[in-house]
Amino acid sequence: MPELGLLELREKLRTESHGLVDFVFDVLSPRLIPRDLKASSESEKVVNDPIWKMSVVGPSVLPLMELPLLQRLRRVRQLGLAHLVYPGAHHSRFEHSLGSMRAAERMFDALAETGNMPSEYQRRLRKVVTSAAILHDTGHTAFSHVGERVLQHALRDEYEAVVRILRQAFPDSLEHVSTAPAVAPERHKLPAAAELMSALFVLSPSMESIVPTLQHEFSPDECMMMMCGFILGRPWKLRDGDVHYYWAEGIISGDLDCDKVDYVARDAYYAGIPTATDIDRLLSQLVAVKARDDISAPDLHYSFGRGNPTELQLFGIRPAGASALEMFVMTRSYLFERLYAHHKVRAAERLLQRLLLQRIQIGREDEGWGLSEIFNLLYAPGGDDYVLGYLSNSENGHFAQLACRILERKLPARALAVSASSMGTTPRAEATEVSTFLPWQLAEDELSRGTVDLESEVCNLLNLQFGNDIIVDWYLPNPIREDPDIWVSDPADEATFGA
């Protein structure tokens, strides 16, 4: 359970975030979550979607969907500039948010049913989970991850302060019941900037006017804290009676969460890349895996009873769904190679990232830019196209030129590609020469950290203009983690682990 109440948490965030939280709470949130928004007369809506077909948007989500906070996402493309390479990839963060909500509902229903969750608690928790699902991406800037990377660097000190407080305010849900050595809060991974912004919007005073209309059955303060916890991957109130429903954490933030389930299917569909992922099969095989104190489970670091729950339920999948899960992971990897890390997409995004960061840095150094101007640019209501249009009309010819290159798809062409083998060394060859092996390793180390220095040197050597004429790119590490936190149920007793 969080150690701070909502009001105390807000105060602490305001005090220690160097003005960031003041701006988000007092300026940005009121703009995106207006108090005087007229509520819809409908109690639900039916939405058609190519991935999930017909979905019902219920009363715990509908008022959120109508906020400028969500509507802005209609103009933020899910895949940044990937549409310059895959012309169909124009889908927005808005439809992805709706899709994530639908995925979360289905995942929750499957897991709650197999875990025999009491119906009253199930009804209450489901509303919070679906609300958190649709809000999880509201912190995204224009151009999705490109804008996010720029924001993360531009406001690094401010975000680190916010992360420090949120990590302490939302302890890990297993912290008090685990018998494994404690993990200090600072050892947990930092959430990305967009996720933090989503969390701040949820905690903002403006959200207080909306939450009571969502028909939640927790108090508004509890509800906001719970939604924030889910978005950060640190939920609380996952215990009902003697059961800890740990699997609920994985629905919004996990190795097979609603975000990944939706984007894998959606990105492949809109990019026109055929994949073999069977989402229906995957979701139909989800199961709450029970780890009980009467079962011998030598690897389980969990303290049962003595004030702790006597049953722990884990996010699991039936053995019959294991192949669908493997295919899902393979598809993610395939999309990474073919879509997210496509060399032309990366070239376009590098150009855009350069444009945004240079604009912000010049604004800060020469034009007195502060938080207001940075957020006005990256959270413009008009989204991606507005920001590009604005920059293409810039008085500074350098910015205008860069923006026009993106608008007209005049992307950098690949002039030189190098790999280990082309440089005379191979990844672990039978007879690699140390004379080529070592320089390659060191170059790889340096380039993976950043390319500004090499880019600058190449420009000096060839008398080119830095920031416009040349881009040095280096491969992106594949973000897929091994060892996912997903349990395969025991085929002999599918609802029991360790029997």
Binding site: D299, D366, E444, D445, E482
Partner: protein, 144 residues
């Protein structure tokens, strides 16, 4: 007004140099240190063994290591978020060869000359990390 955009970008990223430790570099250092400690062995630690080893020695790790590693609490123990990057770093460099699944042993392919060269080079930039990795290697479980 004309700008020095390279300098501008460096100021934006708040760095003038690119010499920090990364999970991939740490993976190469650990694999090199292990090979130097056990020159006769071709079997490296499994994913789980390496995870446990690093977690058990994290308190004595230099700050550079602590800064780049993050932990994830699971019902069956603690995991290192960056473990995949650590191993893949060494794998991409050609030091390690793995087969699926992850609980099988990992073969180390780096030869002694490479590992000595790499460790000596890394020692110039990360002396305390190399020393710590050598301690890790000495405390590693036997693999063969």
């Amino acid at each position: 007004m004309s700008y020095d955009f390279a300098a501008l970008e460096r100021r934006f990223y708040k760095t003038s140099k690119q010499d920090g430790l990364t999970p991939e570099v740490l993976g190469k250092i650990i694999a090199s240190a292990w090979k130097r400690t056990y020159p006769e062995s071709n079997t490296f630690l499994s994913y789980d063994e390496l995870t446990r080893l690093v977690i058990n020695h994290i308190e004595t790790a230099p700050q550079e290591v602590k800064d780049i590693l993050h932990f994830d609490r699971r019902p069956d123990g603690v995991r290192i978020e960056e473990m995949t990057r650590l191993i893949v770093g060494a794998q991409n460099a050609g030091f390690l060869v793995r087969a699926n699944p992850q609980n099988v042993y990992t073969h180390i392919k780096a030869d002694l000359m490479e590992t000595y060269t790499m460790l000596d080079t890394y020692e110039l930039d990360f002396p305390s990390v190399v020393t710590w990795a050598q301690t890790l290697a000495k405390n590693a479980p036997k693999t063969e």
